[in-house]
Point group: C2
């Protein structure tokens, strides 16, 4: 009966283990947060996350948890050039986003070949030892917005 989504896809026990394995305590709030991140197919804002989590964790602790999770590599911060950050579950799979600059539409794509690029960049520049990660987003117009 609750308005809050259940632990669909990948269940509660997995998330509990994930928390414990990273030296976090397993609390309702953090489980709900991880579940929301894991079930979403696109990066979520803190506002959206807090809404889904309801009273199980207030905004401030959503920030704190997201920060801790990102440091542990569980989640990741993404910049969609809105005025606030978005977060996604870190599944280690190198995918990126295409974002509509007119509405909020976001989709995934793969195949950035950034390892090759990183290699090229390290040769071109001379002051860098290694590349640890990268950000890449495409911005454009979705089908719905282009026909307006």
């Amino acid at each position: 009966m609750s308005a809050i989504p259940k632990y669909a896809g990948g269940d509660r026990k997995d998330l509990q283990k994930l928390l414990r394995d990273n030296n976090f305590r397993s609390t309702e709030g953090r489980l709900a947060l991880l579940s929301a991140l894991k079930c979403s197919r696109k990066p979520l804002s803190v506002e959206t996350l807090a809404r889904q989590i309801g009273s199980r964790l207030d905004d401030v602790n959503v920030y704190r948890a997201l920060q801790a999770f990102a440091a542990a590599g569980i989640s990741r911060r993404v910049d969609l050039q809105h005025s606030h950050a978005h977060y996604e579950f870190n599944d280690e799979h190198d995918h990126h986003r295409i974002v509509c600059t007119s509405c909020e539409k976001v989709e995934d794509f793969t195949g950035c070949e950034c390892d090759t690029l990183a290699h090229k960049a390290l040769k071109q520049t001379h002051g860098f030892a290694k590349v640890t990660n990268h950000s890449l987003e495409l911005f454009g117009v979705c089908n719905a917005c282009v026909s307006r």
Copy 2:
């Protein structure tokens, strides 16, 4: 004798013309701002820009000008994952940055081949009509920081 850099490389008249051509009035503050952007080989923060411009334009108007310039395509906003925005002169040349996550070091590189990637992404996803621009940064460790 002034601490403020002169209009090196690309002189005052060019910048005046650039402003006029974009329907802006040519003022000391905006000329100084454009000059600072044009002379820098890396994106600058508002704080840095305001310092270089000195009393010729206060912070608020640096924001206003940068916003207007970006809308006109004269300058561009870049996200280096610091806690504030950086801006660069828009020379239409597709280059990107490699950023040290430990110090503030930034270098340029080219060769992202994002047109190809944009093409691939439009095929993979089905909800998008076109790609208008993209962001891409590499994050890593510079030689100085790696040996610490």
